[in-house]
Subunit: 290 residues, 2 copies
């Protein structure tokens, strides 16, 4: 199977878990449920889930547990998008080509959708069929990647990013985007009961991928169109926000992306052919147009 | 030791864990850290932590693990207060006698403080010194109590509470407040590796306590002063919000509180004298003036 097919298969497995977790129940208000489904099931590449599932597959981890962990990472990611889009944060009206949650519903609902999705992420990562002895370590990993020293701290830095130098931007981006991407790769290794060396290699791969992801995102903001990306573009320059591409220029950014693809391949070398789809993933990220 | 001393001891053990978890580190932006400390370390009775610690003590669970789990519940509770106070939610300026986080800092920071505290709750409940085999189940319990079918769903119902009947109000309050209080009691049992019967008894006790907590809160909103409670009072009536006390009246509410204190004592009977401080806790909740 090639990369596109594997990405689609991971998305399908993840969506199935999320759809199942977001079925009507007597306690959950219908409109809150619908808003949560709108925030999570209306699209998205499911790239973090793909990383969980493919990393776990390197170690023959059970597919159903990998799908649950993958869905947890996607819930976490989705919550961050809903909150980042809020008027008090990035104030975005468009996400994946659709009105953002606070636009389609309202602000209070969007805050609660995000809060509930974060809780759901931890419910899924510690629930059936994730083996109970790895559930705690996986939840710990997810919590660290998404808290003040990870995604949340990165978003805080991003909101205050005006005037950052290249090092400051790299730290902000590593925290905001990189930690969760590296965490997805590491989670696959934990679920697969990988040894310390293999686990460290996947974290290193995830770090590289996270950097590539953000560079490509910045390039898209400079060079893409709203039609391609499904969200407002040019907003970083418009907001006078420091970005790495803004500082080093698109050519240097592209050169760094090529370096990353090569380094990712080196990092994955110990896994041989089994990691070929992860190698392709780094090229996909470097080349992405949406 | 009497109840007040035990409550103070639980608060001290909990504050120590939270203070330690919220020390400066290179990755965490200073202002975000300070806002998080402001949200968590500036007061509060630490009643949920007390329930975790005293429930765990019934089964001789290790005190350091109980303190970590207790701190997790307090982080979760604190995050909910910060988000509930936001302009798009209850729009409150005062909390524990101090400006709310979005007033003392700003709205974006308050959203991120809440998000980070939720992550920290799951980091603490799955981290050292919580035994790894109970970390997953504890995180699962916390996630379920705080998600769409628990606290978050309850807050959603509360925002849309106008016109609710008594049954609707009870469901809303059980979800918004009760689930986390019962979860704190249950978490103590899980940490203490209690058998199913003892665990169920503590959940039942927690359910009763949650109901008492909310009745007393409603009574305070009707009869208390801002000076006593440290927050704005009369806001439910002002917002035309349905409350149980509003529907059944203060006299019936007080009668129900007395019933609850008796039922809580019955529920705790199997634990004998060891549960005397938990018995006192139900009286404290029923009588509280702040």
């Amino acid at each position: 199977m090639d990369f596109a097919a594997r990405l689609a298969a991971a998305a399908e497995a993840t969506n199935r878990v999320m759809d199942q977790a977001l079925q009507p129940s007597p306690a959950v208000p219908d409109r809150l449920l619908n808003a949560t489904r709108y925030a999570t099931l209306a699209g998205g590449k499911r790239f973090r889930p793909f990383l969980v599932i493919e990393s776990a597959a390197l170690f023959d981890a059970p597919a159903d547990a990998a799908a649950a962990v993958a869905a947890a990472f996607e819930c976490l990611h989705s919550y961050s998008l809903v909150h980042d889009d809020l008027p008090a944060m990035d104030d975005d009206d468009l996400r994946r080509g659709q009105p953002t949650v606070h636009k389609a519903y309202d602000e209070a609902t969007a805050i609660l959708v995000g809060d509930g999705l974060q809780a759901l992420a931890f419910e899924l990562i510690t629930g059936d069929p994730v083996p109970s002895d790895v559930a705690g370590p996986l939840a710990h990993l997810l919590a660290r990647a998404s808290g003040n020293a990870g995604m949340v701290g990165g978003q805080y830095r991003d909101l205050n990013a005006i005037g950052l130098d290249a090092e400051g931007i790299r730290l902000m981006q590593a925290m905001k985007t990189g930690r969760l991407i590296a965490g997805a790769c590491e989670a696959g290794a934990v679920l697969g009961r990988a040894d310390a060396g293999a686990r460290a290699a996947l974290v290193r791969y995830g770090d590289l991928l996270g950097e590539a992801f953000q560079l490509a995102d910045d390039l898209l903001d400079v060079e893409g169109t709203a039609e391609e990306t499904g969200k407002r573009v040019g907003k970083d320059a418009g907001a006078d926000k420091a970005t790495l591409v803004g500082l080093i220029g698109p050519a240097a950014a592209r050169a760094r992306l090529a370096e990353i693809v090569a380094a990712a391949a080196d990092t994955l070398a110990p896994f041989g052919d089994r990691a070929s789809v992860l190698r392709e993933a780094s090229r996909f990220v470097a080349d992405r147009r949406s």
